[in-house]
Symmetry: C2
Subunit: 238 residues, 2 copies
């Protein structure tokens, strides 16, 4: 499989200081009422970043060239850093961060297995699209966390991801092999449902299910709009 | 396999500012004559750190508990950081670090496959022992690099590794399952030969093979003595 693409023309991108472009237009949909308690929020966000780190480390490991490894390294570093910052936030409050993350392990591990994909290109697509949705979502939820903790959580989640390089890796590969584009478009559309389920599982539900849905809906509409912009960036039809 | 050890009593260690203990007594065996040119030195060291990062990311991924993942995370972060610092050194001199690393890819990939081990415990043992030898060796070689570049290379290679936690993970596991200790002792002894071959491949050979050997020998004796101390730390007979 990889033999075909042994030397993709990878333009290595240096990590940027500016946060990722796509989400800049993300409006502050108000999710405050639906934000979970601080520790579950941090625990789930931290375990998602750990899982993302593992996925990035895997695509570094199986990357077809040293250039591609180098290009993906900063993204793995950023996920690791986000995870460690979230764990540091947990540790300000409890001694054992693992205990706070553990409730989320089965669902996130299962999600990671579902979206891993059949090859390097599907894995890259998954990372770019699912982490994009989940980072956006946790930024939105952070608006409902009171005080400094909320500000810090939003800053951690909104930091540079290093994943923009995936756009280059994938669009180069699709240019060389157009049918790959159709396969990845299909794969990209399939990822949305499972990712939104993970997002939904993070929401604190009130007694009023109808009101909850009314609050969730505009947020999810916005997440899907951002997802479509990321699909566009990859040259894929959403 | 992992079921048996689902909840090892992992004491999570915070990264220390002090460099790893074992090598503090490492004498400055003079390898200056055998130090390769700067760029090959940096290229090989950088690719070894990349390979070590991949090995650490793998043991994070298959770790039996979230505690164990957390415990190993800093070591993965340190390997990533060392790699990126070495790449930054390469980039001061050439535009394309991958080109400098590429000559070392086949041998290091082959080495990584040889020492990967059959399970999590063997992988941890490999990481602790082989990275210990190679870090020590590249610190020794750095003495032969002139000027600031040599000082910086030595500092990068001698920085905190975060791997000390592996001692805790392994000694706890061996306490619960003493036969594991015998298996890992055997494995630890087997690793030395392949690791010293990688070290040997980094040496610049002069025209005088006999003099080279006379210079290499005390260095290798010292590396093996340090290796034995690490085996001791794991409670394994060298």
């Amino acid at each position: 499989m990889f033999e075909l693409f042994k030397r993709p023309r990878v333009r290595i991108e240096v990590p940027r200081l500016k946060p990722r472009e796509v989400s800049e237009s993300l409006p502050r949909v108000n999710l405050a009422e639906l934000t979970p308690e601080l520790l579950p929020y941090l625990g789930q966000a931290a375990y998602i970043q750990l899982s993302l780190f593992e996925a990035l480390a895997r695509v570094v490991t199986v990357a077809p060239t040293v250039q591609a490894k180098e290009a993906l390294f900063p993204a793995a570093g950023q996920a690791l850093k986000k995870h460690q910052k979230l764990v540091a936030e947990i540790r300000r409050r409890v001694d054992e961060p693992a205990v706070i993350m553990e409730p989320f392990v089965p669902a996130i591990d299962n999600f990671a297995a579902l979206v891993q994909g059949a090859d390097w290109y599907e894995s890259l697509t998954s990372i770019y699209l699912t982490a994009g949705i989940l980072d956006d979502f946790f930024v939105l939820l952070a608006a409902g966390i009171a005080g400094d903790a909320g500000t810090r959580a939003a800053e951690i989640m909104d930091a540079e991801s290093g994943r923009q390089v995936i756009v280059t890796l994938l669009t180069d590969a699709i240019t060389e092999d157009p049918p790959l584009g159709s396969r990845l478009a299909l794969w990209g559309r399939r990822l949305v449902g499972d990712t939104l389920l993970v997002a939904r599982s993070a929401i604190h539900h009130t007694d009023n299910a109808r009101t909850d849905e009314q609050r969730i809906e505009p947020a999810f509409t916005e997440l899907i709009a951002q997802h479509s912009r990321r699909m566009d960036a990859l040259g894929l039809t959403a």
